[in-house]
């Protein structure tokens, strides 16, 4: 099962600043295991989606070139304090996870 995510959303003026940390190995599929010399199979997040109060704001496609335990920050204009942000991801093996935060 996927590891927990961390998410934080704060208002700065009329813009909500959302920061997300996802726990994921982000294997590119080109790295060799130091002990066995075998390639480590690719395992990375492919799609990240974010919604504010159910309305989509971000739809990201990412590859193995994003660092391990990906960090993602984005800004959304319009929401109010108390609105709900939900961020979810799906990886190349079909694993998924999501987290939600209340904008404060």
């Amino acid at each position: 099962m996927a590891q927990p995510m961390r998410i934080r959303a704060t208002m700065a003026g009329d813009v909500a600043d959302v920061k997300v940390l996802m726990n994921h190995p982000m294997e590119t599929g080109t790295r060799k295991d130091a002990k066995t010399g075998q390639l480590v199979p690719a395992h990375f997040i492919q799609e990240v989606t974010a919604t504010v109060n159910g309305a989509p704001v971000l739809n990201a496609n990412i590859g193995g070139a994003v660092s391990k335990n990906p960090y993602l920050g984005f800004k959304v204009k319009g929401p109010k304090a108390g609105d709900k942000v939900v961020v979810s991801w799906v990886d190349n093996k079909g694993d998924k996870n999501s987290a939600e935060a209340t904008i404060g």
Partner: protein, 155 residues
Amino acid sequence: MNALRRNVLKGAAGAGAVAVAVAAGLLKPTQALAAWNKSAFEAKNVNDAMKGIGAASPSDSKDITIKAPDIAENGAVVPVEVTSGIAGITSIAILAEKNAQPLVGTFDLSGGAQGFISTRIKMGSTSLVRAVVNAGGKSYTAAKEVKVTIGGCGG
């Protein structure tokens, strides 16, 4: 007594979170996997990658700011921040030009999302980090060189 109550509460909250995850997930997986732009991500050079994301010949823009270190000691974790004030922005893409697969990610913005993306990327060697912004049907680009002392793409 108290400990039991804690556990019961924890259990309830946990189950709730899983249910939310499943509900959010159920709507997505097939759609998500089908949408992932395989050809663009597997492109071996910048031009092919840009073609793959529908930005074959973007024009240079001073309205895109890339914040990244001049020298990154560890190529496995290079913080990159892209900000753009271009009106009508619909997506931001990040590429590390000399990576074996240059496309790092594409970020489609909607519903009030600002022209801003902050993330951390892997870089195999010293190279230009390029941002491509799509706005109003046109593509704009800017690049910044990042020197990498230790590459972060395995091998």
